[in-house]
């Protein structure tokens, strides 16, 4: 080597652990370059350790549960189902109101009992929808948990 010490490029390569044989040999025989490399390495190492220490001290922000566990299509379907039910109820009330008002005085007792049965049916239907929606909202978590549990009990997991 014509230059008694490492060039800037060689220094970077040596620091990055990507140096050729000549540079390695020079480092072994030149205390000054070796000292310089160690000095910069020490500073970078201190910086790296300090950064990690700082990062570990930062409390992790919680990841939203619904985003974590509810698959996108299920989240959408839950909201869609809720919106459809709401729209159906509103639309139904709106549609039935004129006819109900027109026939209000002429409703016989039998028809009143039939409408009570209808109300009961409607209630059952709404309860079923409610159950369905609740299942959709809860199932991803339970599936996730049961999946986790089954995995944690699997032979492969135990072997690891």
């Amino acid at each position: 080597m014509t230059n008694p010490h490492l060039t800037e490029e060689q220094f970077t390569e040596a620091l990055a652990g990507d140096c050729d044989f000549d540079v390695s040999r020079h480092l072994q025989t030149c205390p000054q370059c070796q000292w310089e490399i160690e000095r910069v390495q020490a500073a970078i190492s201190d910086f790296t350790a300090a950064g990690l220490e700082w990062a570990e001290q930062q409390a992790p922000a919680s990841i939203p549960v619904c985003s974590r566990f509810v698959p996108h299509w299920q989240a959408v379907s839950s909201w869609t189902a809720a919106a459809l039910v709401a729209a159906a109820v509103l639309f139904g009330v709106h549609q039935e109101r004129p006819s109900q008002m027109a026939a209000a005085n002429a409703i016989p007792a039998v028809e009143r009992s039939e409408s009570a049965a209808d109300v009961a049916d409607d209630n059952r239907l709404l309860a079923a929808i409610d159950t369905e929606i609740r299942w959709q909202a809860q199932s991803p978590v339970s599936i996730e948990r049961s999946d986790k549990e089954s995995r944690s009990q699997s032979p492969h997991k135990l072997a690891n």
């Binding site: 800037e8 910069v40 220490e53 922000a61 032979p155």
Partner: protein, 193 residues
């Protein structure tokens, strides 16, 4: 069982561990959050934005875990996702919003001054803090590419080739940025000798 099945489906036995690791977001966050937060924070110099990007990175990684091929480490994969998100933010108004309205801009030298106290004597700890702060100060003055490449190489210990792939830059360009960053660090540390 599950992981073995997953590896058979994809055909890369090496990725068995990684794929099962990615399936548990809590484990993923616990294991990789600190290093990812360090990388993103020092890349951006903005604590709040870094926190937000780290969280988004985990969400994105979890959502795209099936696409992870095991060709690189999970940490490298996460770094790459985070880097893409940083770039996306830089291109959008959202980034400008955060930049202009961030209440807690990061004091990078203050962060670098935190070192494990049990490691050494008070005098040596002080010296280490000073050195760390000097490096942090230099990084603040570097271009985004120089800083990110420096962090990827020396903080994240990524190979030059990996960095080249992660940031879609030629190996020679990566080396040039790294060389300039190292030169700046070396000169700054030399000033206080």
């Amino acid at each position: 069982m599950y992981a073995a099945h997953a590896s058979n489906l994809i055909g890369f036995p090496v990725q068995t561990r990684a794929v099962s690791e990615l399936d548990d977001i809590d484990q993923l966050v616990e294991k990789y959050r600190s290093r990812l937060l360090r990388f993103v924070t020092f890349s951006l110099g903005d604590r709040d934005l870094a926190e937000s990007i780290v969280q988004d990175t985990f969400m994105k990684a979890f959502g795209a875990r099936q696409s992870f091929r095991g060709e690189c480490s999970v940490q490298t994969w996460l770094n790459r996702i985070a880097l893409n998100m940083i770039r996306d933010h830089q291109r959008t108004q959202k980034f400008r919003f955060w930049k202009s309205f961030a209440q807690k801009a990061l004091d990078i030298t203050e962060v670098a001054g935190i070192l494990p106290s049990e490691r050494s004597s008070p005098e040596k700890s002080l010296l280490m803090r000073e050195r760390a702060a000097q490096v942090a100060k230099v990084l603040e003055g570097l271009s985004f590419n120089q800083r990110t490449i420096f962090l990827m190489r020396f903080q994240e210990e990524m190979e030059i080739q990996e960095i080249s792939l992660a940031i879609d830059m030629s190996v020679n360009t990566v080396k040039t940025h790294l060389h300039r960053a190292v030169k700046a660090v070396r000169e700054k540390i030399g000033e206080t000798k």
